[in-house]
Amino acid sequence: MATRVVLLVGTRKGCFILESDEARRDWHVRGPFCDGWPIYNAIHDAESGAIYAAAASEWHGAGVWRSPDLGETWELSSEGLGYGENGELRLSKVAGLMAAHGRIVAGAEAAGLFESHDGGATWSLLTTLDGQPGRTKWNMPENQPPGHLGIAGLLADPDDRNRFWAVVQGWGIFETTDGGMSWTPRNEGLRAEWPLEDPRVNYCVHKLVMSPVDHDRLYQQNHCGMHRSDDAGKSWTEITEGLPSDFGFAAAAHPHDRESFYVIPLDAGHGRCMPDGQAAVWRTQDRGSSWRKLTAGLPDRNAYIGVLRDGLAIDDLDTPGLYFGTSTGQVFASNDEGETWSAAASYLPGISSVEVAVIS
């Protein structure tokens, strides 16, 4: 059977699916799906083959759309996605999703994790990280960062069902090793440009990724620099030097090389666009000791474009392909590890997330 390469693109107005073959030169666009609901994160569950899309409508609330057949049919469910009638928390959106070990985990705002064991049909509250440092403050309205994502990232351990990491927006990384019952802050060595009341938390982690070939090797794009961990997040080392900015959102780890990692630096001010109006992806092949700017085929002038935290993806073919989606609706694709690029779509709504699935 021919290999299908499928991009799941979450946008402000629905989920789109871009599809190509193994050559990854020509892309066919389908969508919008999910009735045009704003999609914050769309993922492919390799175990079941289903697509899940985290959504929040200004009119009709939050939920998770799911498609068992690569976008042919869709269903929405929010059964169990909520904090109940009398609690202190209100669920405004589902911001992120993680599929691993037969379970789907959803990260929500206000900050909490929900899990589904029936393919997204029903959900139950897993944790609101009670007792963790910062927990009494991070849901306060006055402490909400832009975007109001709550749980801004989830990362599974491919080897251990009970271990995973959750990023609380503006507060940092927390690790569980017992399926979400207890948590430990994992922010040692990170940098903050603001006073810290508690040195264990209050770090602004934008994107956390793991090397598929070394599960102790994590990388992160932080509000304050790029960082690497060689001990599964127990400690962090900054690797920003050589990049044009210490700020950015997106990050991707090479599927076959633990030393290779991609980021998209952005100006840190209000613009949050690629520096100097030139689109570029930056790559390290020596675990952050040096960086190379990759621009071939990308717009080199007047390109004031941004890429959000889930907007960069990499496939696992022998020569990996890279993909990023912009906040102004372009999808750029590379079929040669970022050496050369071309536009796969140019006029989509603003893009929140890009994920790639290789289906044989």
């Binding site: 009735d35 200004e58 009119w59 929405l76």
Partner: protein
């Protein structure tokens, strides 16, 4: 039976949900219950914990702004509106 007029944003989410239908209900809240019995999950699209109508879901009964507790007459018209939001 009250006559419900639903917004265009709902039938795309719930299979076979019409834009207009009649329901037997004494209040807006009961009318939503009747809908949820036939289209499970629709209450969550219209209401948030409280319970209360969602912030951008407006309901009018016989052209008057209504809440969940508003009483319905047998011949009431109920308009459910997706109010101005986004762009």
């Amino acid at each position: 039976m009250a006559n419900l007029h639903l917004p265009v944003t709902l039938p795309t989410v719930f299979a076979d949900l019409p834009r207009r239908l009649d329901v037997e209900a004494a209040t807006v809240d009961e009318a939503i219950d009747r809908l949820d019995e036939r289209w499970p999950g629709i209450r969550d699209r219209l209401c948030e914990p409280g319970p209360a109508l969602r912030r951008h879901v407006n309901v009018y009964v016989d052209r008057e702004r209504a809440g969940l507790e508003t009483a319905l007459r047998p011949d009431s018209r109920v308009d459910v509106i997706s109010a101005i939001s986004g762009g």
